[in-house]
């Protein structure tokens, strides 16, 4: 009878689990957000969690600079399953206070996600080597410990965007064997937020004057998108997975009964002890009764007398 009951119960549990699994895997509202958050991280675009949102991050391709890309992207957004297109980014540099001149090109693929957000992937960089005059200029910077400045447009599709992104480094930080440089480009969709331009190694303060052995660049480039903040922990029922619940269930026996309730157990023990001693005394006293009280007192008196006598001696 009991076995049958258990069996029934188990099958019911299994069914429940199955239902739960279906619930979890189906794109229900409660769990959708979790899934999409991971997506967002991948594509690095805030607000790309619902298809409506391609309206909130409008892409404004300028008509005159790169018309090909524009047509491609608009087309791709609507129907093309392979929505990649190539973009070029011009890197310019300046020596100290001089004007900016072209120094290299970034090439990347513009990937349009199904949400409508666009991201750059597969970034490649081709650096123009220094010309003779540029070498001279750079040497001057090294001598004066001045800044070598680069700039890129703030929007990939419509350069220069709102403003150029500028970044500088002390020229003396760059020369090693060749000229080592490291770009960290912070992106937000098709916008460039900031470029961190530096030497990949340390550059401690008393910067030594050192000319590079060869005038070629050794470039590293990193594209960075925003991280998504971990969500505040929710300890309500919303936490998924049985493990946690199980864990919680297992945990309490760790502390023994004594460890948990000693403060109550001690007084209880005391009370019990007290009660027992009293209960033991009660019959004795009753037996001795009033008759024994008189001799007891006299005995005590005698004892006391002896005690004093002893002490006096």
């Amino acid at each position: 009878m009991r076995a049958k009951n258990l069996c029934f119960f188990l099958s019911k549990l299994l069914l429940l689990c199955l239902c739960f699994y279906i619930l979890v895997s189906s794109p229900s509202l409660a769990f959708q957000s979790d899934e999409l958050l991971a997506d967002d991280e991948e594509f690095g675009l805030e607000g790309a969690r619902s298809p409506v949102l391609d309206l909130t991050v409008p892409i404004q391709p300028s008509p005159h600079t790169q018309p090909t890309i524009q047509t491609q992207t608009t087309r791709s957004r609507s129907l093309d399953p392979d929505p990649d297109s190539k973009v070029h980014l011009l890197l310019e540099h300046a020596f100290g206070d001089s004007d900016f001149s072209p120094a290299g090109t970034f090439t990347a693929r513009l990937k349009t996600s199904s949400h409508g957000g666009q991201t750059l992937t597969k970034l490649r960089f081709s650096r123009n080597s220094f010309t003779r005059t540029e070498e001279q200029e750079f040497k001057k910077l090294l001598e004066a410990d001045d800044f070598y400045t680069i700039r890129v447009p703030s929007n990939v599709l419509s350069p220069p965007g709102r403003d150029y992104i500028i970044s500088s480094v002390k020229a003396r930080c760059l020369p090693r064997n060749g000229l080592d440089e490291h770009f960290v480009i912070h992106m937000d969709g098709v916008n460039i937020l900031a470029v961190n331009y530096a030497s990949p190694r340390a550059c401690p303060y008393p910067r030594q004057l050192k000319l590079p052995a060869k005038w070629s660049f050794n470039s590293h480039t990193v594209l960075k998108n925003s991280e998504v903040a971990p969500r505040a922990p929710l300890f309500a029922e919303e936490i998924l997975g049985g493990e946690n619940v199980e864990f919680e269930g297992v945990k309490p026996p760790e502390r023994s009964l004594w460890a948990k309730y000693w403060m109550y157990l001690i007084p209880v023990g005391l009370i019990v002890m007290n009660a027992i001693t009293q209960a033991m005394n009660m019959p004795e006293e009753q037996a001795a009764g009033q008759s024994a009280s008189q001799p007891q007192q006299s005995m005590a008196a005698i004892q006391r007398g002896q005690g004093t006598a002893v002490r006096r001696r």
Binding site: S33, D163, H186, A194, S199, R201, A202, S226, A229, P233
Partner: protein, 929 residues
């Protein structure tokens, strides 16, 4: 059995009392804290003196306070602080028992009970278009035995019942194109006249040139807004002219008063007669004249008062009449001064005064007190000795529970009024300091931290309205000179920075003030515009701190303008970087100094700057709403943080970190104005030397306002989570990985470590960040963090809550290493198990039961004692206290009984002697046997 129960109960009692208490005992209130209540600059005043046992005056102020003041002493009976955007338009008293206030441009009407300030009713008056807000309470207009309040606001005329605030009727006037200027209700009639203009066709009844009435009209004439019967007051430069409007539109000049400052409204005190108060300045005195209108026959009253020079000129005057003991009419006047103080004048005397300028503090800094001079006179010591002994005997009685109730009172009084606390000299613990505060009125106050009294005050003449500077405002206060080497013979001084106007490119004003005496040492201005002030970490030989002032044209100006300063500055020239935040534009730029300015006049203290880096936030997806940096004077005790398993993490401690929070442009508005999908919050940690983004984190579905605090290597920020419908607080901690290899003790001993290698911003930092978020119940007005002298003591966050209280929250609750089940080792380290929300422990309110109404800022200052920090919070009220985030581990508590210790020692010594004598005697007896 009974015994056992008793034991049990005692045990329970013991257990319950052994819980840690952070709160304070009743007799400790006011020992190290003080609380001052203010109301702000008075806008309107209504007297309530007739047939009232307690004479009072109801005032409304520019800090949006409605208060009832005691007319005898100037104390606050009750007060209500309305929200910051709920400005009061008018106040009045209805039915002789309700205070009626119209606020928010005439859309909210509230009534409070006059005796106790309880709210009686509140009604909302909607309207179609904004207009002038007018309030009129007719004395004997009744609708169904109900007194009626008439309000014109938002283009509608409303009649509101004064008993329950119900709108009785409503008439739209704005749709007919009427701009109502005044409501008139003739006595004993049932008709209200709403007088106004229709469109632009003004009722020009009469036109007379001012010059016809008054010669020498080079200055512009201004009509004063005083309500007078049949008269107009006109102010031309410093002269007030009273013009009587006679029949047939004829104007005639009645009187002409020189050096006049303010005119009150007409006060009708007899049938058809009106009194009018007039204040004139004459030297250090002010003259109050009460004139009788409208026939202008002689003065009813003429009195003069000695006035403190630091109060400036009279801004407003309100009069009230009373019947003297000899049945004649007497007048009292309430005057509002330039420094926002409020004074009551009666019978030729200043009856009371209130320093209400302290309700609008702009900036706070601190100053040390003078060093105590050696050689205190003997008499003083003797007197002190007696007092000291008496005090200690009383205290001893208290500890031994022998004190009578009177003694207890005496002990409490001694503790509260200990002269030690309010002395004008430096103390060893650094508890006594001067708080230098700058008020909106352009007045500096020095408050003593011991008891909050005003040591000196100074109305800055540079922040005084003048022709060169039309609309001066104070901006900041900086420490200019803090003498250490010459502490005995030089006084510290502060720099006050102001602007002539509200825009950033308005010319700047500078003023240097001695903090011991309150004298203005030097002033400059108007000079170039001041956008940003950078105190540099260098001082010149006289210990004046160098300051760089940035103007609107991105030029840097060096102060003080001395050759020594230039010399020091040139040495550090290449290492000075600065950044500017264009919040509206969404761009942060870094700059470096270049060379001297190219101006017509050569100026060697002016430098051109050059842009080094820029960060451009995409305008369609991000808008800057908050930026926070570390406090310049913050001290970090150690860079290393020992974690479990004897591992070490190195804090990334850099002075050049900037925390920036941006939100979606749509989500800039109020909470709930956008859906979670269209709002996000992005936070950045930026190195301000190179413009490097060290950390970037997006919170989806979150919205501002963001309040943040940056200290050591962590930043804590508060925002709203739209998905969870709750406020959240997050913490980011940033650690240096490049030093993480220095774990091996052997390597450290052998010197194989890079701990001493210099840090450069140009090196690529290897940092890791840790972050965690928690829910927080309150919305927050401001956040600060405790700061101590050496930075050893653990930190507490001081959160200004929406209830105008200050909550101290241990930083340990905001530790990204918290986990649900910390290991034993982590528990030992003091990591609290992770919870989804931050606890609010009622005992940890720094303000206890008090409220700092209208809380705007919290300032923490380290005391010399490492465990203690001084906290000053300001708003409409001021509150000061001492905090010890890790308890006072380095000093004995204030109530420690030295006498008891002394007596114990004496008793022990006596006991030693007695036992010695006894043992000697016993030994002798032993030997004799």
């Amino acid at each position: 059995m009974a015994m056992a129960i008793r034991v049990f109960l005692l045990l329970l009692l013991f257990l319950s009392s052994s819980n840690l208490t952070f709160s304070l005992f009743e007799d400790q209130v006011g020992l190290m804290d003080w609380h001052q209540q203010y109301i702000g600059k008075v806008k309107h005043a209504v007297f309530h003196t007739q047939k009232a046992g307690r004479k009072r005056v109801v005032v409304s102020t520019e800090e949006n306070v409605v208060a009832s003041l005691d007319l005898r002493h100037g104390e606050i009976f009750w007060r209500h602080v309305l929200g910051t955007n709920d400005a009061i338009d008018e106040i009045d008293i209805a039915l002789g028992k309700y205070v009626i206030a119209l606020s928010s441009e005439g859309s909210i009407l509230r009534a409070w009970n006059l005796p106790d300030g309880q709210m009686v009713w509140e009604s909302f008056l909607p309207g179609s278009k904004p207009s002038k807000a007018l309030l009129s309470i007719p004395t004997n207009l009744k609708v169904d035995k109900d007194h009626v309040i008439l309000i014109y606001s938002n283009g509608c005329l409303h009649a509101v019942s004064s008993i329950d605030g119900e709108v009785l009727w409503k008439k739209e006037l704005a749709t007919e194109g009427i701009e109502v200027q005044q409501l008139i209700h003739p006595l004993g009639s049932d008709i209200i006249y709403a007088v106004g203009f229709v469109g632009m066709e003004k009722l020009l009844i009469h036109q007379t040139h001012v010059s016809d009435l008054f010669q020498d009209s080079s200055a512009t004439a201004v009509i004063l807004p005083s309500k007078l019967m049949g008269m107009v007051a006109l102010k031309i430069s410093s002269t007030i002219i009273f013009i009587k409007v006679a029949d047939a539109g004829k104007l005639e000049v009645v009187d002409k008063i020189d050096h006049a400052a303010a005119v009150s409204d007409g006060l009708s005190f007899l049938e058809g007669q009106q009194a009018l108060a007039l204040v004139q300045h004459g030297g250090s005195k002010i003259h109050l004249t009460v004139k009788l209108g409208p026939d202008w026959s002689g003065d009813l009253l003429k009195e003069s008062f000695e006035m403190d020079h630091q109060r400036g000129v009279v801004h407003k005057v309100f009069i009230n009449n009373y019947i003297r003991t000899d049945r004649s009419h007497g007048f009292r006047a309430l005057i509002v001064m330039e420094d926002h103080s409020l004074l009551l004048l009666q019978q030729g005397e200043v009856v009371w005064s209130r320093e209400d300028g302290l309700a609008s503090i702009i900036d706070v800094t601190t100053s040390e007190l003078p060093v105590e001079e050696n050689g205190v006179s003997v008499a003083k010591v003797e007197h002190n000795l007696f007092e000291w002994l008496k005090g200690h005997i009383l205290k001893l009685k208290g500890t031994l529970m022998l004190a009578s109730p009177e003694d207890v009172v005496a002990i409490q009084r001694i503790r509260l009024k200990s002269s030690e606390k309010s002395k004008m000299t430096r103390d060893r613990n650094g508890f006594r300091k001067l708080l230098i505060v700058l008020s909106k009125a352009g007045k500096l106050f020095a408050l003593h931290t011991g008891d909050g009294r005003i040591v000196w005050s100074l109305l800055l003449h540079t922040l005084h309205k003048s022709e060169a500077c039309e609309n001066p405002t104070g901006v900041n206060v900086y420490q200019w000179q803090v003498p250490h080497h010459h502490a005995m013979d030089e006084n510290p001084s502060i720099l006050v920075v102001g602007r002539c106007g509200h825009s950033l490119d308005a010319p700047g004003i500078l003023s240097i003030v001695d903090t011991y005496t309150g004298n203005e040492l030097n002033s400059l201005g108007p000079v170039h515009s001041i956008v940003q002030i950078i105190p540099l970490p260098f001082t010149d030989p006289t210990e004046q701190r160098l300051h760089l002032l940035m103007d609107a044209g991105l030029r840097a100006h060096l102060y003080p303008r001395t050759p020594e300063a230039i010399g020091i500055f040139q040495r550090e020239f290449a290492n000075i970087y600065w950044y500017s935040i264009e919040a509206d534009n969404g761009i942060i730029r870094g700059h470096v100094l270049k060379n001297n300015c190219f101006l017509e006049v050569a100026d060697e203290f002016c430098f051109e700057t050059k842009a080094l880096w820029s960060i451009v936030f995409p305008s369609e997806s991000e808008k800057i709403i908050a930026t926070v940096t570390r406090k310049l004077n913050e001290v970090v005790h150690t860079q290393a943080k020992v974690i479990t398993d004897q591992e070490v993490m190195y804090k990334y401690v850099s002075k050049n970190l900037l925390f920036v929070a941006t939100v979606a442009p749509k989500a800039v508005g109020e909470i709930g104005s956008v859906t979670p999908d269209e709002s996000w919050l992005v936070v950045y940690l930026i190195d301000t030397i190179t413009g490097r983004i060290l950390h970037r984190l997006t919170h989806h579905g979150s919205q501002g306002p963001v309040h943040a605090v940056f200290s050591e290597n962590w930043v804590v920020y508060h925002y709203f989570n739209l998905r969870a419908h709750r406020y959240e607080m997050s913490v980011i901690e940033i650690y240096d990985q490049s030093r993480a290899d220095n774990k091996d003790v052997l390597n450290l001993i052998l010197g194989k470590h890079n701990l001493t290698s210099p840090i450069s911003s140009y090196s690529r930092p290897e940092v890791i960040t840790k972050s965690q978020s928690y829910f927080f119940t309150h919305s927050v007005k401001t956040i600060a963090v405790t700061s101590t002298a050496k930075g050893i003591t653990s930190k507490q966050l001081l959160i200004g809550t929406i209830g105008d209280q200050v909550l101290a929250l241990d930083k340990r609750f905001l530790d990204p290493r918290r986990s649900i089940n910390p290991t034993q080792a982590e528990k030992e380290e003091g990591i609290i198990p992770l919870t989804d929300s931050l606890p609010i422990i009622p005992q940890s309110y720094v303000t206890h039961a008090l409220q700092v109404e209208g809380l705007r800022g919290i300032v923490t200052v380290p005391a010399k004692l490492e465990s203690t920090t001084l906290v000053f919070s300001y708003g409409v009220d001021l509150y000061f206290t001492q905090l010890a985030p890790s308890r006072t581990y380095d000093s004995l508590t204030e109530d420690f009984s030295y006498a008891l210790l002394l007596i114990t020692i004496v008793a022990l010594v006596v006991a030693i002697f007695v036992t010695w004598v006894l043992s000697e005697r016993k030994e002798l007896q032993e030997k004799w046997r």
